[in-house]
Symmetry: C2
Subunit: 148 residues, 2 copies
Amino acid sequence: MDSDPGFVAAVEEAKAGFEEGGVPIGACLVSKEGKILGRGRNMRVQKKSATLHAEISTLENSGRLPASAYIGATMYTSLSPCDMCTGACILYKVARVVIGENKTFIGGEAYLKQRGIEVIVLENKECQDLMSRFIEEKPNVWNEDIGE
Amino acid sequence: MDSDPGFVAAVEEAKAGFEEGGVPIGACLVSKEGKILGRGRNMRVQKKSATLHAEISTLENSGRLPASAYIGATMYTSLSPCDMCTGACILYKVARVVIGENKTFIGGEAYLKQRGIEVIVLENKECQDLMSRFIEEKPNVWNEDIGE
Ligand SMILES: [Ca+2]
Ligand SMILES: [Ca+2]
Ligand SMILES: [Zn+2]
Ligand SMILES: [Zn+2]
């Protein structure tokens, strides 16, 4: 599953965010049929945004869609989703959330499951390393991003 | 509380959204000290946005802020917040959510309370009427906005 095109795209987004000096979290939304609907990354630093977390950027970049487009969809994200992004996945009723890692941060995984969404955690080393390097370099930006 | 400047601003935003042909939901974030940090409205129609609900627009328009800025803050919103906007209020730990009405739609009120956020519902007739007119005119846009 680490080689799913959606996960590969999410990691590419995370790396691009790191290179830009941003919060290195990426995501990608894939339809039931396997089509990439959108991808994106955290834009706190790049756009001075309080809401463009990776998953929100991804939903935004996927455009205005009817509810049917999200049926059976998978949200791939490089890090366990915060409460806002958890809620966004619930709003649009994605079927599954595939998470690169949750060692750095554990978000709404239990609540996603409680609301009927499948959750898979990959424990991906590359995602973990990106976050470790980022948090060591910019702890204040990270705390701001998780409301701490 | 219907005359709080933050609620008045939220209703103004909702009305502006209606006039633009959009989803008529508005919001406003007010600091503990009573300062308006930001205000906004649903931008699904205007910006073809899947994520700029009123509360998300408001948090975005409030800009990048340290966690301390949200302490004791109130999110005023013309309608009961969906799961995404509920999660956003939890992420930033606002103290209170003041809701214009929840007759049209009941979102994450119970979960907000469970997570320690005060919830007040005003049963405001003006907010209810705006939503009734909108849903009668554009049921499909409304369903898309709530992922139905
Ligand atoms: Ca892990
Ligand atoms: Ca009501
Ligand atoms: Zn998030
Ligand atoms: Zn919402």
